[in-house]
């Protein structure tokens, strides 16, 4: 460490000190016009003229005095017949399951006054274990999307269900009668009862061909396992059991397969403590800097067209170390050390290691299986008996269906919960082929490119309106129950399929009878189905072979009267119950290696395009969700767009092209015969001669939030050898002179050059638990050197009762951003739109700062620093209001709108705030947000802010949190509404709050368990014990040199690298 220095930077403009960056970084607020755009200068009806101002003011005063004369009459409308379990103003939680495309999450739905307002993770599920993702958190807004289908439509005209069913039913009968081919195209079905319904459909229409496809498919894994073990499946992976993990372009922390679950597992191995001084080690080989690569201890940027060679190289390295036969190929020139070291670590941790690949090439996956087999990982970190069912699609099936449709061989097609016209490689062909299909039906809840291309749309429910079930993993069942009655005249897909199959049972009865016949017999805890059903519905889940949840309340958190506040759930992880590995590995690895050797080249000259799933939008199913559109990508930190990420080496060839404060250019991207114009971002860590482009953007028919945002990357995909390929070799990128602005937030709110990211390596930490800590000392006249925190200008505040605080473990934080969206939902944080983000006015209360870091030696030139930046390390640092006990903001507020509470909170009284913005200017952490406009009601300038623009959208608002008006400052309140509620519950029961009973929205949403919230005054609390254990070690406060004494503190980032930090 001594001769090596480490610099942290948020973007290349910071590293190279661009003048415009420096100018902006010094200001809290950008110098931009207060009108949202040049074309429109009206603000809430004001035109900015002095006279108009006076007129409006005069009118306003008159209006106020008139309004004061008469109080508006407000109505209080109670129920006719109040349900017993329901009380206005008291939240009810219903356990349910989120299953959207290939994503699954067990959730609790918080409802208030009968409307769902928040999603929490269901801790009872051993699949997702209480974790959530940004998309799960945001899914609640899609329920209130005003652009959803409101009734069934026939050729875009709304109709009644009776007429609709009659028309479709007659046509189906006619086609089936003539033995015409019917294609049922669907996304992967995780619902077992839906599968049974589909069987009924096939019984009724035997000429039906079911086509399952996934927008981002796992065909490669499915087929590799078929070759290896005899059946096509995705196994269960256990990253928590692995000490060494090697990932070849599998972004398992971001988007790959079941990322919420894997995040939970991975983060468990990233928290070194004195009792368990151990961490897993992650190697990542990839082209784009993904979330997984960002969290890797070792990352090797490679071209996707070389990936197979690296897999073979690793296979050979592992095989030779174990004295087993090697395979053909695998000769590499770059990253030899990394591969050798990975192999060494893997062999050392045989049986406690895991190799995964995101490739959709069956041969690459076979080699990966081969490595895992060599290492004896099957039955230990990979369970092939418990299979992941969220990806069942075979790209070949889709291709076969499309070619059959093209040749006129399909008479009827039903699209269920899928959008292949947009999100498959064959979208354009499919759209053209649909012309020859006589009956085209889509079962969908939202308009999309596929519903646009069909004649009949059976308007479906949102999942929060539906009954249903899910089996994300074999033997792990969960239930979906409605948290609200249907809002529009829609019908859930299950009922539609049943009805057309001639079964008039409603979804509730159908699902419950499925459970009675198929799930109930698989347990012996309950004697009657009624009990089994009620408890399963209450818990949301049922896991075969799991000990009864009701029996295992021994370790549960109980209140003083013995009522269980939180059941004990830890320690019943799924893996402990996995049955032993039986099937034997029987794949021809040599054949696979030969195939790989023929397809992949270690070095090549062309540019490879990598097409990836974005963290926020995924494959674009929720593109009309403004929360997700404004969710900045964790790595690029850009929102409201997709763009190509190019390596610095390419930017250099463009005359030292730089992206500065969002100012960029458009480039022509030529892929085969297609040319598309896309904006450019220079991305540190992008492998040389590769570019990246995200899926999910470029929706044409989705709604106002999605329309015209980005370009469609799905149409650049190809299906070869029965599998979609997520990269294209030999593409051309040409810069154009057209200017463009990408809204990226990475350099907003910069804490310039201050030492706020601190960290070290595992080995250093073992030697010195305070390794990497930077303790600032000041020199005093009498006492010599003392820590800066020992001196204060202020008398300080007392916190006699509670001292709410947070500890953020930067080692565990993977940067997924679920907390950002959870906070947005909980606290009614507005959406501001691309223009305002460009003006540096995003409103998120919690942001995850992404720092790149690279090492340099004294005297290194700028170009050497930049070279180091080609594959930087990445640190994620969640930053919210630090709730300083010596708060700089409080002392400068002229009206005392921001004050300190006796519980350690920095409180913000919106109604007292007059908008001087002094506080934001004086905040060293830059966490205060100003309402420049009335975002919630300014439909003219903020049309995308739809949650608050309609009565329906406003139903998502949290009624316990004020919607802020224009001209007031806001910031993280540490979810004070939850603190107050939790304290009140404790008071009503005459007890102290129990640790874990009160959590903030961000801490509850965090899958990685990186945010620990609690009462620091409660000696029994996790936070107090953690701070006690880590005091003077990993625990530190940001900017301790200015002694703001925050209630939020951090744990240093520890990497498991052998040498450099």
């Amino acid at each position: 460490m001594s001769e090596q220095n480490k610099i942290y930077w948020k973007g290349l403009e910071e590293l190279t000190n661009e003048p415009s960056f420096v100018a902006n970084a010094e200001k809290e607020f950008a110098s931009v016009p207060t009108a949202p755009s040049a074309s429109s200068n009206t603000l809430d009806g004001l035109t900015g003229q002095r006279r108009d101002f006076l007129k409006v003011m005069g009118f306003g005063m008159a209006a106020v005095s008139l309004a004061a004369c008469e109080t508006p009459v407000k109505k209080a409308i109670p129920f006719l017949n109040k349900p017993e379990e329901y009380d206005p103003s008291i939240a009810n939680y219903y356990a349910s399951s989120y299953a959207d495309g290939g994503d699954y999450c067990a959730v609790l739905v918080k409802t208030r006054e009968g409307r769902p307002i928040k999603i929490e993770g269901n801790k009872l599920s051993s699949v997702t274990q209480g974790g959530t993702s940004a998309r799960v958190q945001a899914s609640i807004l899609s329920l209130y999307d005003t652009e959803r289908f409101k009734a069934p439509t026939v050729r875009k005209k709304e109709t009644t269900w009776a007429a609709f069913d009659k028309e479709v039913g007659e046509k189906l009968a006619e086609i089936a009668g003539g033995n015409g081919r019917i294609a049922f195209v669907t996304s992967s079905i995780v619902s077992p009862s839906f599968k049974q319904a589909l069987a009924e459909w096939i019984a009724k229409y035997p000429s039906t061909n079911v086509v399952v496809y996934d927008p981002v498919s796992a065909s490669g894994i499915l087929n590799a396992n078929k070759a290896s073990f005899g059946s096509a499946f995705v196994p269960s992976y256990y990253f928590n059991k692995a000490d060494v993990i090697v990932s070849f372009s599998a972004d398992f922390l971001g988007t790959w397969l079941s990322s919420t679950e894997y995040t939970k597992q991975f983060a468990a191995g990233r928290k070194p403590t004195a009792d368990r001084p151990h961490m897993n080690r992650l190697y990542s080989f990839e082209a784009n800097l993904s979330l997984t690569g960002s969290n890797a201890d070792y990352r090797a940027p490679i071209k996707p067209s070389a990936e197979g060679v690296y897999v073979a190289a690793l296979y050979n390295a592992v095989a030779s170390a174990l004295g087993r036969p090697t395979v053909a190929g695998g000769s590499i020139t770059a990253h030899k050390d990394t591969v050798a070291q990975a192999a060494k670590d893997l062999v050392a941790a045989a049986g406690k290691s895991l190799v995964v690949s995101g490739s959709n090439d069956v041969n690459v996956q076979l080699l990966v299986n081969g490595i895992n087999e060599l290492l004896g990982n099957y039955g230990k970190t990979i369970d092939i008996n418990t299979q992941l069912l969220t990806r069942q699609g075979q790209d070949a099936d889709l291709a076969a269906f499309v070619s059959q449709a093209k040749s006129g061989g399909v008479q009827a097609v039903i699209f269920n919960d899928c959008n292949p016209v947009f999100d498959s490689a064959l979208g354009t062909e499919l759209k053209a082929a649909l012309g020859s299909v006589s009956l085209k039906v889509a079962i969908a809840s939202r308009p999309d490119e596929t519903t646009e291309a069909v004649d009949y749309v059976a308007a479906a429910h949102h999942y929060l309106e539906s009954w249903g079930d899910a089996e994300p993993r074999t033997g792990y069942y969960s239930l979906t129950q409605p948290a609200i009655t249907k809002i529009f005249d829609t019908r859930q897909a299950l009922e539609t399929v049943l009805l057309w199959s001639g079964n008039t049972t409603d979804a509730y009865k159908y699902v419950s009878s499925y459970w009675a016949n198929n799930v109930y017999p698989r347990q012996n805890s309950y004697g009657s189905f009624r009990d089994f059903w009620n408890y399963s519905l209450h818990d949301g889940i049922f896991e075969v072979g799991a000990p009864s949840l009701r029996a295992s309340t021994a370790g549960a958190v109980k209140d003083s009267t013995g009522n269980v506040v939180m059941p004990e759930v830890a320690g019943v992880g799924p893996f402990e119950r996995a049955s032993p590995h039986t099937a034997s590995f029987s794949a021809d690895v040599n054949a696979a290696a030969n195939a790989v050797d023929g397809t992949y080249k270690a070095t090549s000259t062309g540019t490879d395009l990598v097409i990836y799933e974005s963290i926020g939008l995924g494959v674009g199913r929720d593109a009309n969700n403004p929360w997700l559109q404004e969710f900045a990508d964790p790595v690029t930190r850009a929102c409201w767009d997709n763009y190509i990420t190019i390596p610095q080496s390419l930017a250099k060839t463009w005359g030292d092209f730089k992206v500065n404060e969002g100012d960029t250019i458009l480039a022509n991207l030529k892929v085969g015969g297609t040319t598309i114009k896309v904006p450019v971002l220079v991305q540190p860590g992008q492998a040389k001669d590769t570019i990246g482009l995200a899926l999910g953007y470029g929706r044409e028919v989705a709604g106002k939030a999605a329309k015209g945002v980005g370009v469609n990357a799905h149409k650049l995909l190809t299906i070869a050898d029965g599998a979609a390929k997520y990269f294209v070799a030999n593409v051309t990128v040409e810069k154009t002179e057209e200017k463009y602005r990408v809204a990226h937030v990475q350099t907003h709110h910069t804490i310039m050059g201050r030492d706020i990211v601190q960290g070290s390596t595992l080995n250093e930490w073992k030697k010195n638990p305070a390794a990497g800590r930077h303790i600032v000392e000041v020199t005093t006249g009498d006492k010599g050197h003392v820590p800066a925190t020992s001196m204060s200008l202020w008398p300080g505040h007392t916190r006699p009762n509670h001292a709410w605080g947070m500890v953020v473990d930067m080692s565990a934080c993977i940067g997924c951003g679920a907390c950002t969206i959870a906070c947005q939902v909980e606290n009614n944080v507005p959406v501001v739109g691309k223009e305002e983000v460009l003006n540096r006015r995003e409103m998120h209360w919690i942001r995850i700062d992404r720092y790149y870091s690279s090492s340099y030696k004294e005297g290194d030139s700028l170009s050497m620093k930049e070279e180091a930046a080609e594959n930087p390390q990445v640190v994620f640092q969640p930053l919210m209001c630090q709730h300083c006990n010596n708060a700089p903001c409080e002392t400068v507020c002229p009206v005392a709108a921001t004050t300190h509470s006796t519980e350690g909170l920095n409180q913000m009284a919106y109604n007292r705030c007059i908008g001087t913005r002094y506080c934001a200017n004086n905040c060293p952490y830059k966490v205060r947000r100003f309402n420049w406009f009335s975002y919630p009601q300014n439909a003219e300038n903020f049309p995308l802010n739809f949650p608050t623009l309609s009565d329906l959208g406003r139903m998502v608002l949290n009624p316990d949190v004020t919607v802020r008006a224009r001209g007031v400052m806001e910031k993280c309140s540490m979810c004070v509404q939850r603190l107050q509620e939790g304290k009140l519950n404790a008071k009503k029961e005459s007890r102290r709050p129990i640790d874990g009973e009160i959590v903030t929205a961000c801490a509850a949403a965090c899958s990685a368990g990186a945010i620990i919230f609690g009462d620091m005054n409660d000696a029994e609390s996790k936070i107090a014990q953690l701070m006690d254990a880590e005091s003077g070690k990993r625990n530190y406060q940001l900017l301790s040199e200015i002694n703001t004494n925050p209630s939020v503190s951090y744990l240093t980032k520890i990497r498991n690298t052998a040498d450099k930090a």
Binding site: L80, K82, S89, P482, Q977
Partner: protein, 435 residues
């Protein structure tokens, strides 16, 4: 601007109303669809509590208070007969239980005693078949226990309650009676007027004397006999200043009072769709507030009772009244009754009833006034922030028996001997009510 701020949470309300309507449909689904004990709190996987055992007088009191109290008392006849020794008037507890469950069936079935009751009271008691036999058993056990107590002793608590209320009222106005002050002031004014009159008389007499006196010098004469110069007095700067000052102060005071009064609706007593009398229900019949306002001990909202609560009694009582017809119409048309909200707290302030009623143990009347005497409910308190703050300054926290406060009480006692008020534990901090 201020309007903007005020209306912000108002939207949420509108959303809530819309949601309420939606939920009405939903509740129907939940009942015929699920009919499950809707999983209230998914996080709490507690086993359901075992049913209360029968014959327990303590449990019986709770059942009685929840289901019977609005029509019956032990010693007095309320809507129905007094229940003292009721068990002795029936051959067996089983028969009594049967009667409680199905009164009309028993009466029409020809039971002579039941028939007699009907002839006396001219109305059927509603069926109570929703109660379990053990619950009714516990009520009977409680009636037996109460009947065993002497009449005076049983009646005493009620009387004490009444007195307690009166004492509290007197306590509120403690100090010097305001009317007494008025009398003193009146007397003082009278004395002053008399003084002026006497002084005027003396002046007249003296002037007369001086006029008749010839031994005065010219200067003295001029001084003594010169008529007072009113013009210069009223024209003087000092006088003008004083008058202007007083006038400005009066106008300012009136202005401020007016401005402070904006949106302060003390005395607001809107006409309700059904002229519900709190005086009758809460006053005469002493129905517990929480019986109708079901949320008052549970949550933020006290809640306006739903029609089914009204019908608990009014499916049998006063069924002919035109106002009851409105209830039946509401049920028939599936349209809830739109009551007019009396107490409108600004949306920016968070107020939770249960905090004050359960934890603070504050009587409803403290904020809502003499609700038991109000034929038409009116807003009693100003509901201004000053009013809230003032109470938080004065009110002593009810810490007895509440383990939450133990630590705070100890800390407070170390500092001072004064009682611990809400203010002392952070009750004036912004984020306690504004978030």
């Amino acid at each position: 601007m201020s309007l903007n701020r005020l209306t912000s949470r108002y939207w949420v309300r509108i959303g809530a109303m819309a949601a309420t309507v939606l939920t009405l449909h939903f509740s129907a689904i939940a009942q015929d669809g699920a009919a499950t004990p809707a999983p209230a709190d998914g996080a709490a996987a507690a086993a359901p509590a075992p049913a209360a055992g029968g014959g327990d007088a303590v449990a019986g009191e709770a059942v009685f208070n929840a289901n019977c109290k609005q029509c019956h008392a032990i010693n007095e006849q309320v809507v129905g007969p007094a229940l003292r020794d009721a068990h002795k008037r029936w051959p067996s507890d089983k028969a009594l239980t049967e009667f409680i469950k199905y009164p009309q069936k028993t009466i029409d079935g020809g039971n002579a005693y039941a028939k007699g009751l009907y002839d006396k009271y001219k109305q059927y008691m509603p069926n109570h078949n929703f109660l379990k036999d053990e619950e009714i058993g516990s009520v009977i056990a409680w009636i037996k226990a109460e009947s065993a107590k002497p009449v005076t002793a049983a009646a005493a608590p009620a009387a004490a309650d009444g007195k307690g209320g009166a004492a509290a009222d007197a306590g509120a106005g403690a100090g010097i009676d305001s009317s007494f002050l008025t009398y003193i002031l009146g007397a003082l004014v009278l004395v002053l007027i008399l003084l002026i009159a006497v002084l005027g008389l003396i002046t007249t007499v003296l002037t007369k004397y001086l006029n008749n006196n010839e031994n005065l010098t010219e200067a003295d004469k001029e001084y003594a006999l010169d008529a007072p110069n009113y013009k210069s007095f009223f024209g003087s700067k000092a006088f003008l200043f004083v008058v202007t000052f007083i006038f400005t102060m009066v106008v300012l005071k009136a202005g401020f009072d007016k401005v402070y009064g904006i949106n302060v609706n003390t005395g607001y007593a809107p006409t309700q769709p059904i002229p519900f009398s709190h005086k009758l229900h809460a006053g005469t019949y002493e129905i517990d507030c929480g019986y109708c306002h079901t949320g008052v001990y549970k949550g933020k909202s006290a809640t306006i009772p739903s029609v089914n609560i009204c019908l608990n009694c009014h499916n049998a009582i006063k069924t002919g009244s035109p106002n009851m017809q409105k209830l039946y119409k509401a049920v028939e048309n599936n349209k809830p009754i739109e009551w007019v909200r009396v107490h409108n707290l600004p949306d920016l302030a968070y107020f939770n009833h249960s905090q004050h009623t359960v934890v603070g143990k504050i009587e409803c009347e403290k904020c809502h006034g003499a609700i038991k005497e109000m034929e038409v409910v009116e807003q009693h308190s100003t509901l201004t922030m000053g009013w809230c703050i003032n109470c938080h300054r004065e009110t002593v926290v009810k810490t007895e028996g509440n383990a939450y406060y133990d630590k705070l009480v100890k800390l407070h006692a170390d500092k001072t001997n004064k009682p611990m008020t809400v203010e002392n534990i952070g009750g004036l901090e912004c984020s306690k009510c504004h978030y």
